[in-house]
Subunit: 346 residues, 2 copies
Amino acid sequence: MNDGVHAVAWTYGALTLLDQRRLPGETVYLRIDDVDGAIDAIRDMVVRGAPAIGIAAAYGAVLAARAAWRAYGAGWKGPWEADLERLAGARPTAVNLVWAVRRMRHLGLDLPDDQDPEPALLDEARAIHAEDLAANLRMGELGAALVDSRCGVLTHCNAGALATGGYGTALGVIRSAWKEGKIERVYADETRPWLQGARLTAWELLQDGIPVTLLADGAAAWLMKQGRVGWVIVGADRIAANGDVANKIGTYALALAARRHGVRFMVVAPTSTIDLSLASGEDIPIEERPADEVLELGGKRVAAAGAEAWNPAFDVTPAELVDAIVTERGVLVHPVHECLVDLMQD
Amino acid sequence: MNDGVHAVAWTYGALTLLDQRRLPGETVYLRIDDVDGAIDAIRDMVVRGAPAIGIAAAYGAVLAARAAWRAYGAGWKGPWEADLERLAGARPTAVNLVWAVRRMRHLGLDLPDDQDPEPALLDEARAIHAEDLAANLRMGELGAALVDSRCGVLTHCNAGALATGGYGTALGVIRSAWKEGKIERVYADETRPWLQGARLTAWELLQDGIPVTLLADGAAAWLMKQGRVGWVIVGADRIAANGDVANKIGTYALALAARRHGVRFMVVAPTSTIDLSLASGEDIPIEERPADEVLELGGKRVAAAGAEAWNPAFDVTPAELVDAIVTERGVLVHPVHECLVDLMQD
């Protein structure tokens, strides 16, 4: 099965990232061989998408361990933990980053001090990567099964192969449902300010031969009013214990419009995205990114000189507006709160 | 009183338009001396904004009459009416265009066949222009009076001096309320795909020394969730007899979010925007503009090759989501239906 493009890979002993800032114009891979390179790549959005960030960070933890082992030998764990802390803080909202770093740390601290930690850590990073891909394939099946009649679907940002270990979360469901003939048309918000929809989602779907119709973010409610959409299908960056969902800015507005029009709202995310330590979405830290992302476009200033900008990268959709959360362990239907806790205890 | 920049003027015997496609980077005025130039300028959005389109069309009708009189003498009216029909069809949604052309036609057909019609028609076009400016100043007062406690306001697209005969509709209210110290902060959606918010509204407000914070359209609902906005204030392109409001794409999503958050929603439009011939917003023709406006930015392709786009230029906000319609003849508060008919009968 084709799992789409590869945003993150471990090749020739280093982390290789497809530079998502330059798509779709250029397909450029960056080779990253130290943890600072991994941190910069996450912060600067060379790699983006909650699961892909987690996987990149896992490989980053391998690079950090390699350097610490070379520099400090049996004393590698202290400096390594300091690197992990910086790695986990590269971006604040997606919890998969923290989850992956914590998993690497857990394994690493159990390793003997006097052996090269790289082989065992690399195995763990590869496991995180492979599990994510497998989770996406499973979520693709589960989510597609929810689409009970042929309809148009709307997605936001890019929750595809580019945002994950492969196949995608929201786009995984769309790939599976498309194959099953359940989708009339895929609509994608262009997703300002970073244009993940126009640049990444359209690129990725077209590579798989799935036609896609872009629209300005402001047009999505009007699209739903026309009756052209049966499901909104999105990914997530963090899901709180009560089912509130942090995802790319603009998702909340979609959920409001979906509820108004009887359009169903599906969130597709692996359990690594679920953060039971936070009671509700109010506790999720929301990253504010530089104003220039709004004031500029493609490096060129578009806004009037002197204008300021407010640029939150994410928003929170309350659980009450979510009809289904699809995870690799199963589907939670509205209301999700108690099922979510049960699911994580399995 | 400063009425802001001048988007439309009649100077040295011709129509002069500020080319709004090139703002804020360049301030270029185009001289237009025939009706085809006026039609092209309206269609290509050299001039945009419902009232400004109406004023430009009125001057365009003068240019058409001049040419018809020169070519046909006493037989000028037939060819002139044909030109007026093309002029009225340059863009479909804003009713001010049809309204202005009809008013010019009404006056013109009453003129004697054997006299140069230009002086009388130019007087009428100038009256339309002056009345629009006066209406905006009046609406500024009336709308500002509705803002009963100091708050943040959010606007969409550009309903300012650039979109009108001067001062602006929504931005006229914002100018007046700002002067009265009632506004904490002006937020402006960037308004994709044409970026009227980032390019025009920010430019225009900053020229008047009013600070403005831009945001991606998808962030507006999240801004309201933060409690930062007391009023959404927008213009309109056409208002149906039941109070449904056609305005720039994205307005409907704002109205949904505003209702959710208890934010009030004000539409500011002169009575020339009201079309009692249409029972509801369902009858308003919605212009679909070229896909390239979404697929490109500043003439540069941003979307993946092969992607399609759906690009409706307007949407319709149902009357039930509108808290107040401010016209130069008075303010209608929710529910507006019966008051609207009464207002137009005054």
